[in-house]
């Protein structure tokens, strides 16, 4: 069976994860940060699906987990966008550099 090896897929998901993390830590725009978070979540999804396929081919647990993560990502996006709208109304900006009120 001519198959793509698991390590290739894991390499893609790891790359995706660190791209998302880089975006999360360097972008100042909240929407871009949200997109980065989605990237991270999707890298996890790829992991789940890949491991399910390669290690436990007769089961569907990994796929179910992926479906849950997609649902939760949708809900999280809704909450995050609500926060952003509220932030924008207060600060006229969605730059995270300006939201540093909560400190010592």
């Amino acid at each position: 069976m001519n198959q793509i090896p698991l390590t290739h897929i894991l390499f893609v998901s790891t790359a995706l994860f660190f791209i998302g993390m880089y975006g999360l830590l360097t972008r100042r725009n909240l929407i871009t940060m949200l997109m980065s978070v989605e990237l991270i979540l999707n890298s996890v999804n790829i992991n789940f699906v890949a491991f399910n396929r390669y290690l436990y081919a007769d089961k569907l647990d990994g796929v179910f987990f992926t479906l849950f993560i997609i649902t939760i990502a949708a809900a999280e996006a809704a909450v995050a966008i609500a926060i952003m709208i509220h932030l924008y109304r207060n600060l006229n900006s969605i730059d995270v550099e300006q939201t540093d009120e909560m400190k010592f």
Binding site: M21, L24, L25, T26, V96, E97, T99, D100, E101, M102, K103, F104
Partner: protein, 658 residues
Amino acid sequence: MANYNYIAWIPLLPLAGFVLLGLFGRRRFRGFSGILGTGLILAAALLSLYAAWQYFGAGAGAAGVTAGGSAYKPILAMKFTWLSFSPGLSIDMSVLLDPISVMMIVVVSLVSLMVHIFSLGYMKGEERFGTYYAFLSLFSFSMLGLVLSGNIFQLFIFWELVGCSSFLLIGYYYDRPSAVAASKKAFIVTRFADLGFLIGILILSFYGETLDFGTLIHRLTTPSPQFLSITSASFLGFSLLSWGLTLVFIGGAGKSAMFPLHVWLPDAMEGPTPVSALIHAATMVVAGVYLVARLFPVFSLSDPPALGVVAYVGAFSALIAAIMACTQTDIKRVLAYSTMSQIGYMMFALGVSKYGGEGGLGYMASMFHLFTHAGFKALLFLCAGVIIHRVHSNEMNAMGGLRRQLPLTHICCLIACLAISGIPPFSGFFSKEEILLAAWQSNKLIYGVGLFTSGLTAYYMFRLYFSIFWRGPHGVRQAAGDPGAGDAHGSTPVSMNLPLVVLALGALLAGLIPFSHFVTSDGEPIDTHTPLSFSIAPVALALAGIGLAAWLYGTMSDRPRRLASAIGGLYRLVYHTFYIDEIYAFITKKILFNLVGRPAAWIDRNIVDGLMNGLASFTAWISALIKGMQSGKMQDYALYFFTGIAGLAVLFIYIWKN
């Protein structure tokens, strides 16, 4: 057996008075707080008299049948378990009736009643009138509870309550710094003594394995296992029984102002005068005598050396207090030292006594003297109250010639002075003769001290009497010159005169009570017969003392001053009461404060506080160091989070990988 359940009401009525007046005395009951307190103590006094009549009179038949003789047996009127720790150890509350407790409830409730009535006039118009009566009721409750206590721990509780109410009443005029200082002094000195008392209780009850007086006395006077264990255990060469009894006596000595713990009593005269009459003359200060009498069988049968301590401390206190009383000029301080001296009499009478039969004369005499002394000393203080009310001064030098202005007080005071001096047929004569007789039969040295002191007593009492009521027109002019003194109060109110008359009748007639038929060491009545020839020496000495006082103070003269300067240094030594207060002050301020207080303060400030401060500043330093991490920036937090996760991953995958 007769029904004695009502006895519990005797202390409970004043307690009710305290609660009611303490809660409502300032507003709602303000108008009649005095009447309320007095009415409740009147009821308690009537119940006490009825109890005495039942116990000594009608009850004697019933008790006699059971005892097979005419002895008065202790009766446990009621008893319930208050705190139960284990089957063997519980603290009970009980009411014990025996000759001395019945005699004491009569004395306490009657004197308390007189003082309550007297205070209606004396304290009239005081700002905190209701509070005053609340405190008086608290004291009456505590004292009645003390004398009725059936076990030693219950007695200790009431003992402390009495001390507390004494503290409250000495400091009644709390806006006066001297009163505040006096109340603190009384509290601290007696607390110091009570520490000894508490340790004594612990020793006795640990080895006696009971707190109950009857069982304790029985176990410690017969060769029981408990007796053998307490006498065989020893500490510093004395048996633990001696230690226990001596420590209990220290507690009694503190409360009864025996040397060297007497320093609080003269200062306690800062309280209102009726309070001095009740607490610091008639009742509370004899609690120490009562305590020794309560444990008397143990002292007498098992441990004569401890009883010897009682005798010598009592005799020495009697003598030294009488000497100090001779030089004081504050009328209440003279009476305070006189109280201390008379309590010394009671103590050494107990000390020279033996248990049972004719040998128990000293015990009976001591209780008799307690009884008569309560009457005439309360009378003296109340007279002093009338005089201070009139003259607005405690100084004898500001008085004089008051016999025309206060004729009734003059007569009453004269009776009391004659009674305390031991002139027949006044009450003090009978009790003092028996004390001296008991001392004569047992210890000639103590007899000599007692005899000399009785002469001194007559001298200083009549020095007081002549200074106040005679001694020329000096005082009259001063009293008349002070426009407020004579007119503001007019004649003395009935409420103040009535107690004087009642107590004067008591001082006149109490000596005729055949006391030895009622109160003896073992309950068996004894007959006392003082030989007439024996009375000659004390009475002659007393008359000599009166004569000397009359010569020195009967008229205005400079004789006292010349006498004082003739004996110069000795006079100053006595006038400053042997500098005992200064010695105490030196010991506490110079030695205790410097050697114990300052190092303790240094340790507290530098080591204890330093440890705490160091901890706090270390925490502050750490937090200052790392608080920058909490920047408020979301991405910093995300970075920390990922770093932490990565760190954990490295830790678990490469380091703790089993």
